[in-house]
Symmetry: C2
Subunit: 321 residues, 2 copies
């Protein structure tokens, strides 16, 4: 278990994160108590400048590069939010960024990456295909490939976990959406190092369960991937986050895509926040396991808000009055 990220790494990331970002709000919503049956707070990572938590990690990673690494430019693959994070960080540090996205990726997220000055290339049918391709491109060009779960990203995103535990030290349960796992790992390291009694629960879509199956069996399991939640759409699990999750995670549950979509609507109705599908998975999970949450203080991580308008339109049509 050597070299696993620690609370100290997260503490060290803070100056790099807070040079560009402010802590996000943690708000209590009485209206959600009626839905879930216990006190609910939301950690608003959707209020980040690029609309998702990952920007914390990108900034810390970019700040940690050598001059030579910066000159080679950053290369990565993304379904959208990680790419926006790398684009934001690259712009902040004057580094070039080249981002591979799967074909048919969220057009709003692509436009946002381009708006930040990144070069965006569509390649492959899903995230993992795009990732394998851009890794080779980066190698050929002598660029710096940023893997979606590189340690500095975990250190950086862990700062939101620390914000939760500092703002609400009495929290009992934190529910975190899992894509590649950097968010849940950073949160769990921060929260459980400070208070081992906090439960940290991961949530993935039942239509993309690779990370959950791998955690449950403690082996690396690929799985079908057919979720509407691009932020949870992992087909091939990541070893370094799995290793951390084996050590720190209390539970890891699956929710159906239909519950996620309903949660997008419920969050819009009751909190007036736009959550993307992944960002709403934590509420879907809380509703599903509400019997286990009675009398507990529960924090739901709203990991991002970058939903495509046409997806929102379809959800409004389905769940709105």
């Amino acid at each position: 278990m050597d070299n696993m990220p620690t609370l100290y790494d997260i503490i060290c990331a803070r100056p790099n994160v807070y040079r560009y970002l402010s802590p996000t709000p943690l708000f209590h919503y009485p209206a959600l108590k009626k839905l879930v049956g216990t006190d609910i707070w939301i950690k608003h990572e959707n209020h980040q400048p690029v609309g998702a938590f990952k920007v914390r990690g990108g900034l810390h990673l970019a700040a940690s590069l050598t001059t030579e690494q910066k000159q080679g430019g950053l290369y990565t693959a993304s379904t959208g939010n990680h790419g926006q994070s790398i684009g934001f960080a690259a712009r902040a540090f004057g580094i070039s960024a080249t981002i591979a996205v799967p074909e048919g990726a969220n057009p709003g997220k692509i436009a946002a990456m381009k708006g930040l000055g990144a070069e965006v290339i569509e390649h492959g049918k899903d995230f993992d295909t795009a990732r394998e391709w851009i890794t080779a491109v980066a190698h050929d060009r002598g660029g710096y490939f940023v893997g979606p779960t590189d340690d500095p990203l975990i250190h950086g995103v862990g700062t939101y976990g620390l914000e939760i535990i500092e703002k609400l030290p009495e929290v009992d349960v934190i529910i975190v959406p899992v894509g590649a796992g950097s968010g849940v790992c950073g949160t769990a390291i921060a929260a459980k190092t400070i208070n081992p009694h906090v439960q940290v629960i991961g949530v993935q879509s039942a239509q993309a369960p690779a990370m959950q199956k791998s955690w449950q069996t403690a082996t690396m399991q690929q799985a079908e991937m057919d979720t509407v939640a691009e932020g949870l759409a992992t087909r091939i699990p990541f070893e370094n986050t799995q290793r951390i999750m084996q050590k720190y995670l209390d539970d890891f549950i699956l929710v159906d895509d239909s519950s996620i979509e309903q949660a997008v609507y419920l969050l819009l109705e009751h909190t007036h926040n736009l959550a993307e599908e992944a960002g709403a998975a934590s509420l879907a999970a809380a509703i599903q396991i509400r019997d286990r949450l009675v009398h507990k203080k529960v924090v739901l991580v709203m990991s991002g808000g970058n939903i495509a308008p046409e997806r929102l339109n379809s959800i409004m049509h389905e769940y709105g009055q």
Copy 2:
């Protein structure tokens, strides 16, 4: 012009505001530059815990009350956001709150006020009718009536204006939605006292132009009120905010409700933020006067995000693909 609120009043309000709230983000959106033709920042008052800027004023007002005034409880009228602000502040200080809302008020806002522990009473066909009624009720019961433009509210909400000028001192133009006028007055006092070259522009709906007509003619003018933007729905103008606006405001424009609705959609698409109609009026105004904004650094105040889901549904249906 004696007794008009000053920058000093706003500075004095800060400790009361920041005891409960954090500064809200001011984000730059490259995607909005394409729409408006110049650099656009958004002041995210929709990120407040009750989803609108007014909570700053409510907290400062409650903090300024005597023990006797607190014991009598707070009484006010609201189309929603002011009521949530007073409910939030009353809860924070352990004071009772009784809020009159017009019949047919936004059910989400009513639920939120009740969730904060306020007593909510529907009365009258519009805001002004509800206000006249609850003023009498407060008098009968010995309670403290909070008018929507009471000076401490202007001092409190002015803290967001100060945040704008401190974060982006080079701002050229600030566009602010106007309902009763507390937001635009606080902003103008803060911004123009520090830098008289900043232009502060108010915006109201063409379907509720009472404040604009009054400002333009420097007389108190009632007007037809038939806007979808409840946050701009003022039929009877307010003298104290008009007096401040006469001194500080550079311009006051009207935008059509249809432009406001389109702006709600554009903000959702390009910033992934949910703006209520009033909160989107600043973007509608910027698009309308884009020829005047060339090469200027423009801040749009997104005053609130509490849109009713069925209203959003109808906007998505109209403007979404």
